[in-house]
Amino acid sequence: MIESYYYSSTMFKASIFAYAVVVAAYLIGLFLKKKWFGQVSLALFGAAFVICTAMITSRWVEAGRPPFKSLYESLIFAVWTISLVSLAAEWRFKVRLIGFLSSLAIIGIFLFSLTKRDVEIIALPPALQTWMFIPHVISYFLAYGALFVAGLGAVLYLFFPKGISSHHTLGEQARIDFSGLTYQLAKLGFLFLTAGLLLGAWWGQSAWSNYWGWDPKENWALITWLIFAAYLHFRNISSMDERKLSWVVIIGVMAIMFTYLGMDYLPTAGDSMHVYTKD
């Protein structure tokens, strides 16, 4: 990992450093409990996001293609979407805990990405030489970002079912309702999940004349989508308590992780054309 870090680009090193600073700032904020410091950590998070954006942009330019091909590139893009959604959620719901947990998770993703680092930029295979995969990937990663943060909200709900007071959140309003936050983000995520799934089928038809091939990765994308669809309908059953709903979201996020990273462990993975190639 250290060796991989050593050969990483300066941009990558700067990003990982910036997010480490963000984590530290949130950590201090948790103890300091000052509203102005909440603004500081949010600003630092924003700055880290800008650096991450610059990293992705420079790789896009260097590669001459969108940097969404390899697992490594997609992990970095996941960092970007998680940051974007967290920033938006923090802005909207004034909840610092989300920023703290997201930036912590982002550090974890960065460390994991080091073990998957591409030694050089890979050329796009013919099937990916189309603009069609760009909206597909962007939709999916926005969905993953939103649903990941929704999952954080669901976990927080389990810990703080009554919400937390504004004293802890450093926000303006009296209480933060985590189930509401989870629901709003799950809706956003579901919309992009739907778009990503359908764009994927559309692209599959264009590249392989096969919009649906019962491929393991496609199947798990469908499973993920069904879980979140079930979550949305669960809410219409009156006696369903929020704890159970939170668990559905957490299971959904686990399904996302499995769809994204777990395909190699399936006995049917050999048939899949979507598994991220590991060098």
Partner: protein, 561 residues
Amino acid sequence: MEELKNKPPSSNNGHHQTDSQLLTKCILLISLTVAGGILSQNIYHWVGQNSLGLLAGLFAFAAVMVMYAKPLFKIIGTPHFTVPNLIAIALATAVGTFVPQKTDMASGGLVGLLQLNDLFHSWWYVSLYALLAVGLVKSSSKKRFTKENVGFHLAHLSPILILFGFWVDYFMGFRGIIKLEEGQQKSTVLLYKGTSGFIHDSITLGFNIRLNHFEFEKHKPDYRIQIWKRDTIGRAVMVSHGETDDTNPPKIVASLPLEQGKIHRIYGTDRYYRLSEFYPDFEFDYKYPANTDTIAAKDPGILLDLKTPEGDAFVQFRANQSGRNKMADVVKMGAGLEFYWELPEDLAKGLVKSPVPADLAKDNRVIFDGKNEKIYFLINGLFAVKPLKIKQFYPISWNDSIGFSVRYLMPDVAYLQAVPSSKSEELNKPVAKVEVWKAGGPATVAYLYPSSNGDDSGVFKVPGNTHFLALESFKDKETKYYKSELSVINNKGEVLKQQSVKVNEPMLYNGYRFYQTDYDPNKPNYSGIGVSHEPGLMVIYLGFYLMVAGVAHMFYIKKKS
């Protein structure tokens, strides 16, 4: 929202049921349907996979459904039914990713009985979607068609369009392949079964597809200095090309662009390296002092540039080293070449006679006399002596373009300098000159070049370490594109359409889609053209669009009450 949220449907006997009772009931109804699907498909298989069997199976399914049709239709379309329905599809799909889908053969045991080997086309799996579709229709019909409900209706009717399109394609569409070699034309499509790659049938199109030309191109090479590492010191064989019998292959650590002069640390070792020169088309440029008067004839040699029927080459002869002073006519110039500083006795005596003794002229020979700067030609019984001039071209045969010139005549080859250089800017024979050093220590020079035959030539092993440096390109192993030029030809031989087909750029003709799907690295003029026919595609696409629009409307456009 309120019409659903607070009033769970009342049961047959009048009193209200709790949510969990209702859910249990729905799970039971869904399980019954799954059981009915399994039972009836097995009946279909037992009776025989023909129309009679189909009828028997469908009848059995209907019989099962009739038993609980009333409670089913009462509750279907409510969230209590929808949630377990969606979860059931999710679980079933998950099972299908753990059990290998072998659609091309029958399976026995439980797997066969439950149709788990072709789960996605099994009756019970499909029936879960049928339940969903009924629920969608019912929930949509129950909801008023108002402006703010547009999203709801779009989101809930669009899945029906998609499922309908799937269904149409499954029964009326096909996917197959035409295997063509350049110049061939065929009208027969080999059909795949379902979504598997297994060919089970064929159909004939009403026209022919001809492959005029097939080509594929690899990416341009991108040579880089690579740092590799292995767990133990040993052979430094690279596995960039995938195939190796090495159980513990080395791992690539870094692949750095060719930046001249930039210093890199070889992480994990105490060495540094830098690229001092890159030669795209490496050759040694030989240099010899122009004035040789002061050079004693210690180790004489000659450097010749040859023009042979097989191309240009150069060769060096050494007078004092037997075996390296002559060359039989392996390059088919029409004569063997020999170099002497001082002619041996038989030649010295024979070559001044006229005619030259026959035993000396048995074979065609070109003899260089270094000291006297003469060249003797003994060719096809003819004899000639010419003064040896540097850089002058001497033809050998009747063909003026075949022969040689002398680059250097060297009294002592010790003064010959081989200077690395590049013949051209083409990447024909890439070589990188690197310097490797320890901090404060002297630099070692190494020449890196790609190892073509899998041995460890061309790499630099860091002394006392498991790291090594290599010059390699990965990029040119990857395919840039495959392209098939196709013609549609009718039975009269007329060309109806002509188009190049690439991955992502299919040819559409008559409702069929022709796309690049297969190639064979060992058969460069073969191309597999996929053929598909999806009559339901536009309905599916419409469903896609409406679903996204509907969900977006429900979430963000509908006015909150």
